[in-house]
Structure formats: C-alpha cells, structure tokens
C-alpha cells in the first residue's frame, strides 16, 4: 500500500498530487511538463517535497509536518528512469546484482531476471553494447532483483521505437502477474495506460484532474479535459434538456441535435456540460429503423489512414455544433467518426456526401 500527498513549488508551477495505491498498477497519465516525473522524484525522495506525506507499506517515507525524511536507500524502491541510467562501467550481470546485500548468492537472482527479460547470453556485455530495449530490460531487472516494496517507472518506454515499446509492454503484462506490490508508472501515452493501468490518474499543470479504475475512466471520464486527454475525439459543448426519466435516460442538446443518453445524476436540466463519444463508437446507420440519436450529417473532410478513414461530419442543416471557443474537439466544430476503407469506397462516400449516423446512447457520456 502506497499513500501520499506531495506538494512542491517552483516559481509559478505548483505540484499538488495525492493518491492511494494498493498492490496494483497506477498509471499517472499526463502531457509532458505537467509534473508527473517530479511526482515520482518526490515519492522516492530524489527531490524533497515542500509539504505532504508519503507512506509505503505502513512505513513513513516522508512527513512534512513531523520533519521526517527517510534516506533514499532505506525506502526499498525499485526505480526505472526514462533512459535506463545503467552503470556504464559495469556489466549487465553486475548492474543487475549491484543492489543485492553482501553475502547473498547473486546467481539464482541473476538467472531468474535474465530469463524473465530474455537477456541470457548478454550478462557480460556493457550497457554501451546494448540496444535501447535491452537497456530498459536490464534497468527493470536491476530494480526488481533488489525485491523492492514499491516500483516506480518513469516513462520507461518513451525513448524506444514503437515495435520495441509494444514488445516490452507484453513483458510488463507478464510482470503484472509476478508482482504484488504497488507500481506507479508515469507516461504520456494513453495506449500504455490502457494496457498497463489498473488505476489511472490524469494530471494537468501539477494537479490531478481525475483518477479512477481504468475501464471506468476510459469509458466515462468525468471531466472534458480528461476525456480530451484520453483521446476521446468528440467532446462537444452541450446543454442538459431534461432530467432522469422513467427509463434512466436523459436528454441533451448539442448544436441542432437532441440526444438521448444514460442519465448522469451530477447534472440537472439547464446545466451546461460536455458530451463525449469516441470516433470509433460513431456508427453509420445502415437502416432507417426509427430510434434515438439518428442524425443526418454531411461529410466536411476526410483523412485516410491505414484501413480506415477519419471522417469529419457537420449537421446536414448547416447549424454549427457549438462556438469554437467552447470546443475541445480535435477537428473544430465537427464530429469525427471512423469509416472503413471498403465501405467508403463501395458507397462512394467522400467530402460532400450526405450520411445518416447513429450515436449509441450507451457510448455517449456527459462530463463537466
């Protein structure tokens, strides 16, 4: 169990982050410059907080009020830096076993982690002779060989190219099964948060915007900034029309449209809010069976990607979807959807085409 609240100020920037983590993976997700690496530094004691507390497994690492600051070496923290920070003058084997207490046979520990991270045969190599992915594996092995009570990972894969990053993510998924300690992973990549997080926290400008179980947070972020940052393409300004009716639904106005969706008790009729939906959840209506949220639209733009097209839509009657200032949508006052290459080609959909789309009520969410 890791519990903390850390506060640190540098001139105009103030970081104030608090969380509780059990034996699970917490992903701190944030754009660069929002203080996520600093948070790890504060937890490990590499940087002294201005105020707050850090407790790990019942031990006090830091307590600003009581003036307690446990030396870094006593915290039993496994830490992986963004760019490995391996000891350049030591071999792979020596790096991995460096932290083991004297008198303990390093060979079984070394063998275990070499095997786990597919590093057999590289034990005599020096860090300069390793690839980027191998370096990060050694750094992970070095941190884990020491049997830490807490693992902190500071963007461990961000310097790697995509294929190697994905391969390492698979190893992390295996690692999740081996470990039963709190793990805090910092990243700006929401895919990584999706793959590895059990709890996900979104940071912005040194504050925690939102934290919650991964599935809930990705499916239904509670704030529009979070939704935007989690890669939800469509976050549109809306007004709540009516409250919860007998079916548990609520109605919202977005531009010219009245949409039906699952009720959110946080909002009352008349409230301003945002409605979010992922581009992948916007459906092309293939039949005219009447149901809520069938919307006539015009294709205003199309960006081809591999296998699918990113399509921008505007309401068919020409009413704008909201003022530009209030929009957090990626493509301005438009709705984005993904259209399969085959479908677009088969029906000749392109800029100017008129379509009917369907927004599934259970995929729409309200956020503040």
């Amino acid at each position: 169990m890791l519990e903390f609240r850390v506060v640190k100020s540098y001139g105009h920037f103030t970081l104030d982050v608090a969380a509780q983590v059990g034996a699970e993976w917490l992903v701190l997700l944030a754009p660069s410059g929002s203080g996520k690496s600093l948070t790890l530094n504060l937890l490990a004691g590499l940087v002294m907080p201005d105020a707050g507390f850090v407790r790990g497994n019942g031990r006090v690492f830091y307590d600003g009020a009581r003036g307690v600051h446990l030396p870094i070496r006593r915290r039993r923290i496994g830490y992986v830096f963004q760019e490995s920070a391996l000891f350049p003058h030591m071999t792979v084997a020596r790096n991995i076993t460096y932290g083991l207490p004297r008198g303990r046979d390093p060979r079984p520990v070394l063998a275990r982690w070499l095997r786990f991270f597919h590093l057999e045969g590289r034990e005599a190599a020096y860090p300069a002779q390793l690839s980027g992915g191998q370096k990060q594996r050694v750094a992970l092995a070095r941190a884990l060989a020491n049997e830490p009570e807490l693992l902190l990972l500071d963007e461990p894969f961000s310097a790697l190219d995509r294929r190697i990053r994905e391969a390492l993510q698979w190893e992390m998924v295996r690692l999740k099964e081996e470990l039963s300690i709190p793990v805090v992973l910092v990243t700006h990549d929401f895919d990584e948060a999706q793959v590895l997080g059990e709890q996900v926290a979104v940071l912005e400008h040194g504050r925690m915007l939102e934290m919650g179980p991964r599935a809930r947070l990705f499916a239904h972020p509670q704030r529009h900034e979070t939704a935007h940052f989690l890669g939800v393409e469509n976050v549109l300004p809306a007004r709540v029309l009516h409250g919860v009716d007998g079916t548990g639904h609520t109605g919202v106005a977005v531009g010219p449209w009245a949409l039906e969706m699952a009720a959110d008790p946080r909002f009352a009729p008349g409230d301003a809010a945002f409605v979010g939906i992922r581009a992948a959840d916007v459906r092309l209506a293939v039949d005219e069976r009447p149901r809520p949220n069938l919307l006539p639209v015009v294709v205003s733009g199309m960006v081809p990607t591999v296998g699918t097209n990113r399509v921008q839509l505007v309401p068919a009657d020409g009413t704008p979807l909201g003022s530009d200032a209030a929009l957090r949508s990626d493509a301005g006052p438009t709705l984005t959807m993904l259209l399969d290459d085959y479908v677009a080609g088969r029906y000749g959909h392109g800029p100017g085409s008129r379509l009917t789309i369907w927004l599934p009520p259970d995929k729409l969410f309200l956020c503040a």
Partner: protein, 220 residues
C-alpha cells in the same frame, strides 16, 4: 651530464609527498565543492584558487608568516610533532602542496560534477550508503579526471620555485630542489649542470602533458 643528482632525488621526494597530501585533501575539497550547496561557496572557491593567480613569492611569504617558528601554528607543530617547516624539506613539501592544490581541485571538481546524478540516485535507490555510492559509482566514473588532476599537481609540485624558496630556502642537499638548483647553477656559472637539469625538466613536462591528454580520452 648531471654532476649532482641530489636535487633531482630531493625534488622527487618532496613532490611525491606533496602530491599525496594534495590528492587526499584535494579530493575532500573537490567533493564538497562539487556535491554540496552552501552559502559563500564562491568565496571559498576563490580562496582555494588563489595560489594559481597570486605571485608565488607572496604565497610563500604568507606561509612563512603562518608557519614560522614564532607563529602560533609553527609553535604548535614544533611542540606537538617536533616538526619545523621553515628551511626544511617538509617546508618544501608544504610549499609545493599549497601551490599544486588548486591544479588538482579544478579538474577533479569538474569530473565529479560531470557524473550523471541519476546514476548516483540509482545506487542510493538500490540501498547503498553515500560512501558506497562514492566508492562504486562516482569515483570509478570520475577516475580519469582524478588521475589527470594528480599528474598536473605532481608536475606543478616539481616545478615550484618562488614559494619553495621563500619557505624552505636554498640549502644544497636539504632544500635545494631542481628549479632552485638550476637558478643556483646559472648564478654560479655552472652551465653544464644547468643545461642538463633544464633538459630533464623539459622532457618531464612534455611527458606529463602527453600522459594527461592520453588519459582524457577513452571508454567511459
């Protein structure tokens, strides 16, 4: 060739001893300057670097006043350790050490500062004490700078003239080091001895610079 090897042997003894002291004290000072933050750090740095800029005779005069037999420091050293620094070879060691200290501290401080702080943190996070971090990470990664500093300090100690002359004087066989012996030989018209010693010192200096430049390129 060299008629009298005494100055050469004496110089080696004085310089090696001075270098041992310079390295020990210098490592400590360089460490503090590199890793600690405190008020007045720039002033301390400026004072330590003084021997590089003030005239050697001025430096020698300060040492003479500070460690003379009638100064409190000189009296204390004499009564506790039976050590006299004025007009002795130990005095020449003191002079050479003070003159060479900044030459050691400067490159060593730079070398210690250039060791990636994340590596030292990584070692601490793996449970190591500050002493172990220094022994196994910082020093091994800074060794090239330390070696270069040591060689430079030794060369400076060998070449010291003014400071040594002020503190230890010019007593043949006891405090007459090579630079002073060269001056003495020229003054008394012993051209052959002067030429031989000058050639020796020149070869030594070239060798030192070559060694330093060799050591500052390499694997880590």
């Amino acid at each position: 060739m060299i008629a009298d090897w005494t100055p050469v042997l004496l110089t080696l003894k004085v310089s090696l001893t001075a270098t041992v002291f310079s390295v020990t004290l210098g490592l400590l000072v360089a460490w503090v300057l590199a890793k600690w933050q405190f008020r007045g750090k720039n002033l301390v740095d400026a004072l330590i670097m003084q021997p590089m800029v003030i005239p050697p005779t001025v430096l020698g005069y300060y040492l003479l006043v500070a460690f003379g037999r009638r100064s409190p420091l000189g009296e204390a050293l004499e009564s506790w350790f039976g050590l006299t620094l004025v007009f002795t070879w130990q005095g020449a060691v003191l002079a050479a050490m003070v003159a060479s200290l900044p030459l050691f501290i400067k490159p060593v401080r730079a070398a210690l500062e250039s060791v990636d702080a994340r590596l030292e943190h990584a070692a601490r996070l793996l449970g190591k004490t500050e002493w172990t971090v220094m022994r196994t990470v910082t020093l091994p990664l800074a060794w090239r700078g330390i070696l270069a500093g040591g060689v430079l300090a030794f060369a400076r100690a060998v070449g010291d003239f003014g400071t040594t002359l002020m503190v230890a004087g010019n007593i043949p066989g006891r405090t007459q080091t090579v630079p002073i012996a060269i001056y003495d030989a020229v003054q008394s018209g012993e051209q052959g001895q002067a030429n031989a010693l000058v050639l020796l010192v020149t070869l030594f200096s070239v060798a030192v610079l070559w060694l330093v430049s060799r050591m500052t390129a390499g694997r880590f």
